[in-house]
Each structure stands twice: as structure tokens, then as C-alpha cells.
């Protein structure tokens, strides 16, 4: 175990770690390396998935930049900023939860995961309010658009992009939340220890990606 010095794990934790070695891997180091690499690859695919929508945004913003500018002013900056802060905070709590589980503080970890999940719910609720407002005003994508204040060409496309990007993002929030709930359940059952915690790490990585996407969506849709 070349890396066991770095871990400085207690024998009990090291045993727990070795218990999770799958039959086709040689060492736990290899296995952990494999799952992390797989997760980053998966995050790469997610980045490219969103890239398509960002491309759509770029193209239509280029064609209709004034309308896009005008339409972005109809979004509530208060709700948007609140949501940004909620997501950043949830990112912090999930990072801390990972740190807590890694250092053996499972109780604290569970608490932090609960906070993260609550933040995710809060984000969705706020987003729901925003959507509701848009539905009432008729700021809807494509053919459904009937908002009277902004009639310039491309206004319907702004809301197409708005709903597609935030909708796909909200879907990722829901998936991320489900993953974190699953991680929390396993944590409460006592499955994790400083020897074996990478499911928490992977769940947290996914959640950070959700945050990352929002970091770009927020200024593009709400601010500029």
C-alpha cells in the first residue's frame, strides 16, 4: 500500500476500506482512482450536454441582442440572486459534509447533507415561483409567447432558451437531490467511514456541477 502513509488510517478503517474492494480490481487505490475518473468523465459529458444550450443562447443573443437585453430585465433579480446564494451555500454544505464523513464525523455529515437537501428544495420552490409568474404573464417559449410588453423579434426565443436551460438545470437539481438523499440514507445506516466514503464524494461532485452550471446561467440570463 504505497499510499497508506498518506491516509494514516486506523486498522479498523483500513479493514473497512478493503471490505469494499470489488473482485476484479487489484487494490482499493485502483478502485478509488477508477470511480473518480469515471465521475469526472461523466461530469465532462454533462458539461457538453449543457454546452448545446449555451450555444443556442449565444446564437440567438447574437441575432437579437437588444430583445434579449430587454427580456432579461423582466426576470426578478431578487429571486435570482437568492437562488444563487442558496446554491452556493448548498455547495459549501455538501463540501463540508464530505469533509465531515471523511474525518469520521458522521453525525455532522448527516446534518450537513440535510441542510444541502433543504437548500435544493428551497431552490426549486423559488424557481417554481418564478415559473408561475412567467406562466401568468405569458412569457412562454416559442409559439406560446404572448407577453405584450416585449414584442421585438426574438423575445419568444429568449424565453425558449430560458425555459430550456433552467428546466434542464432544474432536472439536474432534482437528480442531484435524489442522489444526495440516497447518500444520506446510506450514511444514516452507517455504511460510510473514513475508510470508505467515496459515494459521498461522488454525490458531492455531482452537486457541485449543478452549482457550476448555475454560476454561468445566472449572469447570462438575469444580468447581461
Amino acid at each position: 500500500m504505497s499510499s497508506s502513509d498518506a491516509h494514516a488510517l486506523s486498522p479498523a478503517h483500513e479493514a473497512d476500506r478493503q471490505r469494499h474492494l470489488a473482485h476484479h480490481f487489484d487494490t482499493m487505490d485502483t478502485q478509488e482512482y477508477a470511480v473518480r475518473l469515471a465521475m469526472w468523465l461523466f461530469l465532462g459529458t454533462e458539461v457538453l450536454l449543457f454546452a448545446g444550450l449555451f450555444l443556442g443562447y449565444t446564437v440567438y443573443r447574437h441575432f437579437y441582442h437588444e430583445t434579449f437585453h430587454e427580456a432579461s430585465r423582466t426576470l426578478s433579480i431578487v429571486l435570482g440572486t437568492t437562488n444563487t446564494i442558496v446554491l452556493i451555500t448548498s455547495s459549501l454544505t455538501v463540501a463540508l459534509a464530505y469533509w465531515a464523513v471523511k474525518t469520521g464525523k458522521n453525525g455532522l455529515g448527516a446534518f450537513l447533507l440535510v441542510v444541502t437537501i433543504l437548500c435544493a428544495c428551497g431552490f426549486l420552490v423559488i424557481k417554481g415561483f418564478e415559473y408561475h409568474h412567467k406562466f401568468e404573464e405569458g412569457m412562454l417559449p416559442g409559439q406560446f409567447y404572448h407577453y405584450a410588453e416585449i414584442t421585438g423579434p426574438g423575445a419568444n426565443l429568449y424565453f425558449t432558451i430560458y425555459f430550456l436551460t433552467t428546466g434542464l438545470h432544474a432536472f439536474h437539481v432534482i437528480v442531484g437531490m435524489s442522489v444526495l438523499i440516497w447518500v444520506l440514507a446510506r450514511l444514516l445506516k452507517g455504511h460510510f467511514s473514513p475508510g470508505y466514503y467515496y459515494p459521498v464524494e461522488l454525490g458531492a461532485l455531482y452537486w457541485h456541477l449543478v452549482d457550476l452550471v448555475w454560476i454561468f446561467l445566472f449572469p447570462l440570463l438575469y444580468l447581461i
Partner: protein, 547 residues
């Protein structure tokens, strides 16, 4: 000399192997063994190859005469769409990675399995689900968009597009998961002593393919979903009446679909790199150049998508930029070809069916590749774009290179997979049919393109008739060839002679275990202490030649 005396002893069929280790249908459907998953892929892709092939024959029959021949225009339009969708998404993309990647990759790494066996099985089930949806679309009347799904036609046609889009989306997931699995496997599961520069070239090719699968496929997933949303919701993203830009669809589509042609052709090049060394009993001439050129193709392939859009209304500036970059992809392929031919030089070439395919492959890849450069030359493409020239070029690469690669792999690893040998004589006969039939099918199509026959034509002006008749005649030769292959391989499976562990006397790591291999591949983990594709005997005086 122990090797040759072994070969003369009667070959033994291993009593316990992955095929008979567990029994029952459920043991197959729930298996985590990469070899069994590979076999299930093999059966599935052959099934879809058959379906796609039937569509192809129907198309060729229809084009036998300039007017209506055997079907209506609407049926014909569905036929070529389904031919494209089935062949590309259900055969070409999963064929070599799904079957031979799955089977051989862990063996070549000296590993027990791929890194994530469950994910691998999930990938197969996703492939089945996606295919089932596409078949549903066919059963519900089919779709007539062409496999390219160009908006706004695809968003307005009244045919059953949505299930097919969903199917492509799910097939994309399957492809991503396979690619992800392979990348991680290659990074983490290599046997002791197996450094990156000791990997077999098949592994390098699959690695490059996987990178494209992982990074390009999400974009097509999103794109087909946007088309689906457009059909259902009218969101206007590609709809000019709502301010959308149809060319944006083409950009997004080709951002995936250009790299996707490398998803199809790179594994085939990988097979040839491995097989050419085995059948000429020689080390690969310029190993590093072949390995790096695979990565080069994977990388540069992402920069070239615009050459599909030269007459689409894309700006002339972008046309020039994409044309220039496309030339680089050609250079990488040229490097591979020189090194393959160099490998043959002073080899000890075994006269076998796979080798006939290799010769065909070399001709097809050069001709197909260079006509690819020709259509990437902007001014020439103005004439050739969307004509049969492009169809012929594409089929030279897709059939000429990919299916040759698939057949080489099937013959080369057949003994590995089943422990049986096929009949070499019939193999050569079928190979000759296929290579000649292929030339007879597609050379006339190049000429039809020159003469100006556009693709996707149900009826055509009479001046193209002679060429179309020639092409249909060639296609029937091709079909006969495939039927012969199917027959002798099934015969070999049932009553073929026992092959022995290494019938080709190949130097590949996958041959270091029994054929067929045991459930966990190797009885003891192999330790790799020599270069890949090395045929020099230990301790023997080896002549070094540098040219």
C-alpha cells in the same frame, strides 16, 4: 520451437470456459462477464445489420429503374431513413466497440473484467431499449427525415419521428456509458508491466474512440431532444417562422455526427492495426505513429464538422476554416496507411480470409479517405455535395472500411470467442465476393455523383440508369458474400474443428489464455515484459532494418 510442436499436438477445447460456466437464459441476461455481454452485442448487432441490409437491398431494387419500381415514394423515403438510422446508430456505432471492444479489451489488458461490469450490462440494456424504440417507430409507420433529421423538415413531417428520436437519445446514453467504461478500464486495469507504450494498437484505437463517444454524444442527445421538443411544443428553436435558425441545427448535429464517423471508423482501424501484425507475423512498423494518430484523429475530428455544411448557407469564411482543418484529419489517416503497408514489408504473411479483407480494406480506406479529402475541397464540394458521390464516399469508409474491419475482427477473434475454426476456403471465397461486390456497388455510385445524381432520389432522370443498374448488380454480389459468411460461421460454431488456444500463433495478450477463455479471463495474472505485437523469439538474433 516449443510453440510449433504444441501446434502440431491435437488442440484441446477447455472443458470449463465462460460459455458453459453458468447455464440458463437468466445467467446470460444477468451476467456481468464482459465476454458474455460481448456475445449478446454480437447477436444484436448482427440482427440489426440484417435489418439494415434488407432495407439496403430494397433501396437498390427500387433504384433499378428510373421510375417507380417496387414501392411508393413515401415508402422509399422511409426505407432510406431506416437504413441510415439502423445501420449507423444500431450497427456501426456499437458494432466493434460493443462486441470486440467488450470481448478483447480486458483480455488485452490482462484484466479480469472491465472497470464497471454493472454499467457495462446497463449499457447493453440501454442499447436494447433504444433499439426497441426505434423498432417501435418503424412499426408505427416509420419516419422519413433521413438519418440526419434536418430541421425544419424533421420538425414538420407528419411521420413517426418522436420514438426514433427518443431511441437515438437512449442509444447515445448506451454509447457514452460504454466509452466511459473503456476509458476507465484502460487507465486502471492494466496488467503489471503493461505501460502505455506496451498497449496493443486495438486498445489505443478503442481508447481514442471512447474519448469521442464520451465527449461528443451528449450533444446529439441534446439535439435530438430539442427536435422532439420542437415537434411537441413548437418552441421555435430551429423554426424560422419563430425567429429560429435551421443552420444552428446543422451545426449542433454535425458537431456530434462528424466525430461520430470516427467513432465508427477508428475501431475498425484499430482492428486492422492488430490483425495486420498478427497475420504478417511482424512488429508494427511505426507503432507510436499509429497510436498517436488515433488520438490525433479523435482530437482534430472535433474541429472539422463544418465541412458538411459548405452549401448550407454557412459563411464562406467558416467554410474555408473547416476545409483547412479537414485536411489534417486526412494526414492522420495517411500516416496509418503508410505504417500498415510498412508492416507487411518483409513479413511472413499467412494466406487467410482476414488477409483478403485487409487488402480490400487498404484499398478502400485510401480511396474512401482521399475522396473524403476531395469532398472537403470547398469548390469541388459545391458540385458533389448531397450527390451520390458523397453517398459513395461515405459507404467506402463505412462499408469498405468499417465492415471490412468488423469482418476481419470476426474472423480473427472467432477462435478466441468460441474455440472453433471456420473453413478457410469458404472464407476466401466469401471475402472475394464481398470485396469485388463492394467495388461493383459503389464505384458506379461515385460516377453517378459525378454525373449529378442527388442522393435520396426515389425517381431519377434516365441518364443515370446504367450506373444504378450496375450498382444494384454489385449489391447482390455483396449480399451473396454476406450470406456465405453467415452460413460457414454458423456451421463452424456447431461442427467446426477445435481451434486450440492460439491458432494464428498471434503475439497478442488476449491469446495468452485459453480459447475460449475461462470466466475471469486468465488462470493467473499475466506479467507483460515485452513490446506489443512482438514476434521476435527471445534470445534469437534479430535483424534490424531501418527504412
Amino acid at each position: 520451437m516449443s510453440q510449433s510442436s504444441d501446434a502440431e499436438a491435437a488442440p484441446v477445447y477447455p472443458a470449463v470456459n465462460y460459455l458453459n460456466a453458468d447455464r440458463g437464459v437468466w445467467s446470460w441476461l444477468s451476467t456481468l462477464d464482459h465476454k458474455r455481454i460481448a456475445l449478446m452485442y454480437l447477436v444484436s448487432v448482427l440482427f440489426f445489420f440484417l435489418i439494415g441490409g434488407i432495407f439496403a437491398m430494397a433501396i437498390r431494387l427500387e433504384l433499378l429503374t428510373p421510375g417507380p419500381t417496387i414501392m411508393s415514394a413515401n415508402t422509399y423515403n422511409r426505407m432510406f431513413t431506416l437504413h441510415g438510422v439502423v445501420m449507423i446508430f444500431m450497427f456501426m456505432i456499437p458494432a466493434i466497440p460493443g462486441v470486440f471492444g467488450n470481448f478483447c479489451l480486458p483480455l488485452m489488458l490482462g484484466a479480469k473484467d472491465v472497470a464497471f461490469p454493472r454499467l457495462n450490462l446497463l449499457s447493453l440494456y440501454l442499447y436494447w431499449t433504444g433499439s426497441l424504440l426505434a423498432v417501435t417507430a418503424m412499426a408505427m409507420g416509420g419516419l422519413d427525415t433521413g438519418w440526419t433529421f434536418y430541421a425544419p423538415y424533421s420538425t414538420t413531417t407528419p411521420t413517426t419521428v418522436f420514438p426514433a428520436l427518443l431511441g437515438v437519445f437512449i442509444l447515445g446514453f448506451s454509447s457514452i456509458l460504454t466509452g466511459l467504461n473503456f476509458i476507465v478500464t484502460i487507465h486502471t486495469m492494466r496488467a503489471p508491466g503493461l505501460g502505455w507504450m506496451r498497449l496493443q494498437l486495438f486498445v489505443w484505437g478503442i481508447y481514442a474512440t471512447s474519448i469521442i463517444q464520451v465527449l461528443a454524444t451528449p450533444v446529439i442527445g441534446l439535439t435530438v431532444m430539442l427536435v422532439g421538443i420542437e415537434r411537441i411544443g413548437g418552441f421555435g428553436l430551429f423554426d424560422p417562422t419563430k425567429g429560429g435558425d435551421p443552420v444552428l441545427f446543422q451545426h449542433m448535429f454535425w458537431f456530434y455526427s462528424h466525430p461520430a464517423v470516427y467513432i465508427m471508423v477508428l475501431p475498425s482501424m484499430a482492428v486492422v492495426s492488430d490483425a495486420i501484425a498478427a497475420f504478417s507475423r511482424k512488429n508494427i512498423f511505426g507503432y507510436k505513429m499509429i497510436a498517436y494518430s488515433s488520438l490525433g484523429i479523435a482530437f482534430v475530428g472535433f474541429f472539422a464538422w463544418g465541412h458538411h455544411m459548405f452549401v448550407s448557407g454557412q459563411s464562406p469564411f467558416d467554410n474555408g476554416a473547416f476545409a483547412a482543418i479537414s485536411m489534417l484529419v486526412g494526414v492522420f489517416t495517411a500516416i496509418k496507411v503508410f505504417n500498415w503497408v510498412g508492416t507487411l514489408y518483409r513479413g511472413a504473411i499467412a494466406v487467410t480470409a482476414p488477409f483478403v479483407y485487409i487488402c480490400g480494406f487498404l484499398f478502400f480506406i485510401v480511396f474512401g479517405g482521399m475522396t473524403g479529402i476531395a469532398v472537403a475541397t470547398v469548390s469541388l464540394d459545391v458540385h458533389w455535395h448531397d450527390t451520390y458521390f458523397v453517398v459513395a464516399h461515405f459507404h467506402f469508409i463505412m462499408v469498405g472500411a468499417v465492415i471490412m474491419g468488423f469482418l476481419i475482427a470476426l474472423h480473427y477473434w472467432f477462435p478466441k470467442m468460441f474455440g472453433k475454426k471456420y473453413n478457410e476456403g469458404w472464407g476466401m471465397v466469401a471475402a472475394s465476393f464481398i470485396v469485388l461486390g463492394f467495388i461493383a456497388t459503389f464505384i458506379p455510385q461515385f460516377l453517378a455523383g459525378n454525373a449529378g445524381m442527388p442522393r435520396r432520389y426515389y425517381m431519377y432522370p434516365e441518364r443515370f440508369e446504367a450506373l444504378n443498374v450496375a450498382s444494384t448488380a454489385g449489391a447482390s454480389l455483396l449480399a451473396i458474400g454476406f450470406v456465405i459468411v453467415l452460413i460457414y460461421l454458423i456451421y463452424a460454431l456447431v461442427r467446426g474443428p477445435i481451434a486450440g488456444d492460439n491458432p494464428w500463433d498471434s503475439g497478442g495478450i488476449e491469446w495468452m489464455t485459453t480459447s475460449p477463455p475461462p470466466k475471469e479471463n486468465f488462470h493467473e495474472t499475466p506479467i507483460i515484459d515485452r513490446d506489443p505485437h512482438s514476434y521476435q523469439k527471445r534470445g534469437e538474433e534479430v535483424e534490424h532494418v531501418v527504412i
